[in-house]
């Protein structure tokens, strides 16, 4: 009997081991490497008790750069020979910096994109007016031709497909949409001095400073955010700002100098 046991025992042990081995998980390797789904984009909700961010962007240093006169070489009767100056840096009498794009870079939910309002660029006197315009991603941007001569809208962009469309004089209005968040430079090849920017926003907390350098972002849900200031020639600056419900926070920035 003991012989029998001594023969059977190892086989039983083997069977046991095999059973355990068979049950061993093989999931320790590799298959778990699939990345988590990316977080969803910006969520639109109603903002009832938001605060606001207001501020003034200024040009530091004693003297504002001299206004650079642009040479008008074509269609002078429509464009006007005089009064064209470079808009690369526009500084007001009390050092306010115009055309600075201000945006919150880290906001995930807030008011609807439609609160940006309608984006309109006019080509008047062979100048893009305004120089910088904000348009919601996927929303319409109206492009007007008040000059009544041939212009073309040539965009320089990476995330959005670059385009170059003619807008002959008889076509007073056309409409374009841009899908991806990006700051797009626009130019007219017929009048090579013309230039501007279309800022495609994926959320509505974008502003452009006015002629005096002031801006305001309204209905911002309470919280701490990073603000980014972008100026076409002077670059980018960032700063933190905390917004409390029902109150106005101040965030000023200074470029150059």
């Amino acid at each position: 009997m003991s012989r029998l046991i001594s023969c059977v025992a190892p086989i039983a042990a083997l069977a046991f081991l095999l059973a355990c081995g068979g049950g061993e998980s093989t999931g320790d390797k590799a298959m778990a490497d699939k990345p988590a789904a990316t977080a969803g984009g910006y969520k639109m909700t109603a903002v009832s008790d938001g605060g606001s961010i207001e501020g003034w962007v200024s040009f530091a240093g004693a003297a504002a750069p001299a206004k650079q006169k642009l040479e008008i070489t074509k269609d002078v009767s429509v464009c006007g020979k005089e009064g064209h100056y470079s808009e690369a840096v526009v500084v007001s009498a009390d050092q306010g910096l115009a055309n600075v794009v201000v945006k919150i870079t880290n906001i995930s939910a807030g008011k609807g994109l439609d609160t940006l309002g309608e984006a309109v660029i006019d080509q008047q006197g062979c100048v893009f007016t305004p120089h910088v315009v904000v348009v919601g991603a996927g929303s319409q941007c109206a492009i007007l031709n008040s000059d009544g001569i041939l212009h073309n809208l040539h965009t320089y962009s990476e995330k959005n497909k670059p385009m170059n469309v003619a807008q002959p004089g008889f076509k007073k209005r056309m409409v374009q949409t841009f899908g991806e968040e990006e700051i797009i430079r626009i130019a007219c090849d017929v009048h090579n001095w013309m230039g501007g920017y279309i800022v495609v926003a994926d959320h509505p907390y974008y502003a452009v400073t006015d002629a005096e350098g002031n801006y305001m972002l309204a209905d911002v849900p309470a919280g701490t955010y990073t603000l980014e200031f972008w100026q076409e020639s002077l670059g980018t600056k960032t700063q933190e700002v905390t917004v409390t419900a029902g109150a106005a926070s101040e965030a000023n920035a200074e470029f150059g100098g």
């Binding site: 190892p10 095999l18 590799a30 298959m31 070489t73 074509k74 170059n164 076509k171 090849d189």
Partner: protein, 880 residues
């Protein structure tokens, strides 16, 4: 005989021995099974893991589908189920049962009716036969007797037929009644199934995964590679047994072996895995199923898996005839290097027969440089020009003296004569010219050029000129830039059609480009006329093979001085000579890879006192050395089955011939060709920046991108233009298209190349463009300032647009001879499509839609009118 009980039976207890032996047996069995399942079959695990993971994913999908069903469809489903219950009740109801019973009765009745009819009919047919037979035999009486019987039977048959029809109608009516009862049930069942489809689909998938067999996956490539006995051998690849998702989309972010093949859409579409397998590109041991065996990383397997650095060499097995291989940038670079650096000058390389000599002729050398310069150059080229394309001969002083003596001696017969350059010239104007006419497309002239330059190779394709005045004299230089072919008929240096004053200014400028301290040279006291020294020089040149790249008098009959490279990659490490490199530790291991890498980095690496090495030194950096090693590895002498080889076809041949010519003349130095090149751009941006002009302005002042050229222009025009490129197409460019002095063959090669890039082969283009009256009227309107304002940018002969020339667009008067009308149509329709980034804006189809009064507002008709007018514009030029 003793009693059994007294018999001394086995008294020792063997149970511990049995236990040990049984344990051993058990252990070895266990080990065998373990080895079978675990060690030898990792693929089983991978497949099981994949199935488990996919099942898990499917189960979560199933849960989501269930949740979705509960949320959205459950109520509707319940209502439908209720209806179905009712429909089912009908099917189980009295009426339906009765109908079923009736149907059975009807069927029996029908059977009976049919049978009775058939019996009656056959009786009738028999009688009818008798009747006819009697009639035929002339037994009229008998026939007459049969007649009433037949009539009676005919009536009976008719009656029975009617009974049959009635029975059939009754059965059909009952069936309709039953079908009506069933129809609503069927419809309801379909609707119910439809609602469950998202769930059942996932369930089916789970079932399919469960049904999958865990099995070895393999592809058989028949007649893939030639074996040792002429015949071609099959190759079996089982790689997908582990690399389970290689040819399945959607696993790009997974880890190996679960990952989808990188760039699968492009690569596996053209190389289907069932036809090309894996090892033809990747190497490894296709049949094996264990790592490292499968990867071939075991002793004596000659072709282990190619590492990332060498991977593109795999493409070369079948793509050896091509110079540019899509998705293989490193291989493409390697092929360019072989061409530029003229490896074929000393080595036999298949596909590189009858090639040009890569360097200048040396028969007139003393007219260009001094003996001292020759001496210092052949001693060490790189101390004078760090990035020179010429490999460094690194001659020892005695060799260098001898070579100098030989070259100086043959140049005594030189008939080349550079007339003295006109005196004067403004270096400042020369500098401006050098920056604007296009010299920097090929040459580095300032330190800044070196900084901003971006090219596709690490050496210079044309000589650096930062210290040119330390090398050549003023007279030679002037004559050279005025007419390079006079000194070197085969040179790639083109004629920029410089005027006397331009050439004088450029010469003046270049003569300011010199090295501060000229290299000190030891030729003093050397008798360069000594016949022994000259003879020794000849021997050195013959031995080192200088004639491979240079035309040298007295060397005309010499051949290639080194070994064939066609099977170099197939050499085993013991066929290679390591010198002292292993002992000294400069080469890490005695492997083919390490040897070749070492050789590429320093071609004299393995020289010893006893064994000299002749290969001139390319001294590649790590990246270039790896690139060349990769290519050499791919030349392993294996013969691949014909079915697997890439066959370029007529268009492919045209492409390859063209690519070599484009490379030889460095077209990509100025132009963007096949999406690459335009190396002159940063230097123009730099020159514009010096004058305070913008980058945009600089970019519009760069030579054109040649995208679509083959379809854009007429072949006849291109022929004339390439021969004599004097037509100024873009008057705003100061950079000039030079005259290369192409012969007819070369020009036709280039035309065929540009056309082949567009998939075309039309050396003669038929032109037949008629302009109707209606088209003319429409076009005149559209061209005008009130509509498309074409003349706002485009020049028409002497009528120029407003503003500075850099804002202009090409002269319309060139179009009829130059442009292909098909291209013109597409261009006006959508210029961005043909040349992304062009300044020409798109007008259509928007413009046509806004102008319904012109040609019905039809975009096609608008553009046709614009094109036809343009192709006939000369007729109207004087009234524009």
């Amino acid at each position: 005989m003793p009693k059994r009980s007294e018999t001394p039976l086995e008294e020792r207890n063997y149970s511990h021995i049995y236990f040990i032996l049984a344990s051993l047996l058990a252990l070895s069995t266990f080990w065998a099974i373990w080895d079978m399942i675990r060690t030898r079959a990792p693929w089983q695990r991978y497949q099981m893991e994949l199935n488990a993971q996919e099942t898990d994913n499917a189960i979560s999908e199933l849960q989501a589908a269930e949740a979705d069903f509960q949320g959205n469809s459950a109520e509707h489903y319940g209502a439908l189920q209720q209806e179905a219950m009712e429909a089912k009740a009908i099917l189980e109801g009295e009426e339906y049962q009765q109908a079923q019973i009736k149907l059975a009765g009807d069927e029996n009745a029908l059977e009976d009716a049919m049978r009775s009819y058939r019996f009656a009919k056959s009786e009738y047919d028999a009688l009818w036969y008798q009747y006819k037979h009697a009639e035929h035999e002339g037994h009229t009486e008998d026939a007459e007797n049969l007649r009433p019987k037949i009539d009676a039977l005919a009536a009976e048959v008719d009656a029975l037929k009617q009974e049959w029809d009635e029975a059939e109608a009754a059965k059909a009516a009952t069936e309709t009644q039953i079908a009506d009862c069933q129809a609503s049930m069927t419809r309801l069942q379909e609707e119910l199934d439809e609602l469950r489809t998202p769930i059942t689909a996932v369930e089916d998938r789970i079932q399919k995964i469960a049904d999958r067999k865990i099995a070895i996956q393999q592809f058989v490539l028949s007649d893939f590679v030639q074996g040792n006995f002429e015949s071609f051998l099959d190759q079996v690849d089982r790689c997908t047994s582990c690399h389970v998702n290689a040819d399945k989309g959607g696993y790009d972010d997974y880890a190996v072996p679960f990952r989808t093949h990188p760039n699968r859409d492009a690569l596996l579409k053209t190389h289907p895995i069932n036809a090309f397998g894996c090892t033809p590109c990747h190497e490894g041991q296709g049949e094996a199923l264990r790592i490292p065996h499968a990867h071939g990383e075991v002793a004596h397997w000659e072709h282990p898996l190619l590492s990332k650095d060498f991977l593109e060499g795999g493409c070369n097995k079948c793509h050896s005839s091509e110079m540019r291989i899509d998705h293989a940038p490193r291989l493409t670079k390697a092929k360019r290097m072989v061409y530029d650096l003229a490896c074929y000058a000393c080595h036999d390389i298949a596909g590189y027969e009858k090639m040009r000599k890569a360097g200048p002729p040396l028969n007139d050398i003393t007219k260009k440089i001094t003996p001292e310069f020759i001496y210092s150059w052949v001693t060490d080229t790189r101390s004078f020009r760090k990035h020179t394309r010429m490999p460094n001969p690194q001659f020892a002083p005695d060799e260098a003296k001898a070579v100098t003596a030989y070259l100086v001696n043959i140049a005594k017969d030189s008939r080349y004569d550079a007339p003295p350059a006109p005196s004067g010239g403004s270096a400042k104007r020369g500098e401006q010219l050098v920056e604007s006419v296009g010299c920097k497309g090929c040459h580095v002239i300032t330190e800044k050029d070196r900084e901003v330059r971006v090219t596709d190779v690490s050496y210079d394709v044309a000589p650096e000129l930062t210290n040119i005045a330390s090398k050549v004299g003023r007279d030679w230089l002037y004559a050279w830039i005025r007419n390079p072919k006079q000194y070197h008929p085969g040179t790639a240096m083109p004629d920029l059609r410089l005027t006397v004053s331009e050439a004088r200014d450029i010469t003046a400028y270049l003569m300011t480009r010199k090295q501060s301290a000229p290299a000190s040279v030891a030729l003093a006291g050397v008798d360069l006329d000594s016949p022994e020294l000259i003879a020794e020089g000849k021997a050195v040149i013959r031995n080192f093979g200088c004639h491979g790249c240079h035309e040298i008098e007295g060397m005309e009959k010499e051949g290639k001085v080194s070994v064939s490279l066609n099977d170099f990659g197939g050499k085993t490490h013991d066929e290679l000579f390591y010198g002292d490199a292993i002992a000294s530790g400069t080469v890490a291991a005695d492997t083919w890879d390490a040897w070749t890498l070492g050789k590429m980095k320093n071609s004299r690496e393995y020289a010893t006192e006893a064994v000299t090495q002749r290969m001139p030194n390319y001294a590649f950096d790590d990246d270039d050395a790896t690139t060349m090693t990769m290519l050499l590895k791919s030349w392993d002498g294996r013969t691949i089955g014909d079915d697997y080889l890439h066959k370029p076809g007529a268009l492919g041949d045209a492409l390859e011939k063209g690519r070599r010519l484009v490379r030889q003349y460095n077209c990509a130095g100025c132009h963007i060709v096949e999406g690459e090149g335009g190396f002159i751009r940063p230097t123009i941006v730099e020159a514009f920046a010096k004058e305070g002009k913008s980058e945009d302005a600089a970019i519009s002042a760069t030579p054109p991108d040649l995208i679509g050229e083959g379809r854009k222009v007429q072949p006849d025009w291109l022929f004339d233009f390439l021969k004599k490129p004097v037509t100024k197409i873009r008057p705003w460019l100061s950079v000039r298209m030079p005259t290369f002095g192409f012969n007819d063959d070369e020009v036709n090669t280039l035309i065929a190349y540009f056309q082949a890039l567009e998939g075309m082969n039309e050396p003669f283009l038929e032109l037949d463009i008629e302009l109707t009256g209606a088209e003319q009227r429409a076009a005149e309107k559209l061209y005008s300032g009130d509509y498309l304002s074409c003349f706002s940018c485009h020049q028409v002969g002497s009528k120029k647009p407003e503003g500075p020339p850099e804002g202009w667009a090409p002269d319309f008067l060139l179009a009829p001879d130059r442009l292909n009308p098909d291209w013109v149509f597409d261009w006006i329709m959508n210029p961005q499509e043909l040349q992304p980034g062009t300044k020409m804006p798109g007008f259509y189809p928007d413009v046509a839609e806004s102008l319904p009064d012109i040609l019905g507002g039809d975009a096609d008709r608008h553009v046709e009118a614009l094109r036809d007018y343009l192709m006939n514009i000369r007729k109207f030029a004087n009234r524009l």
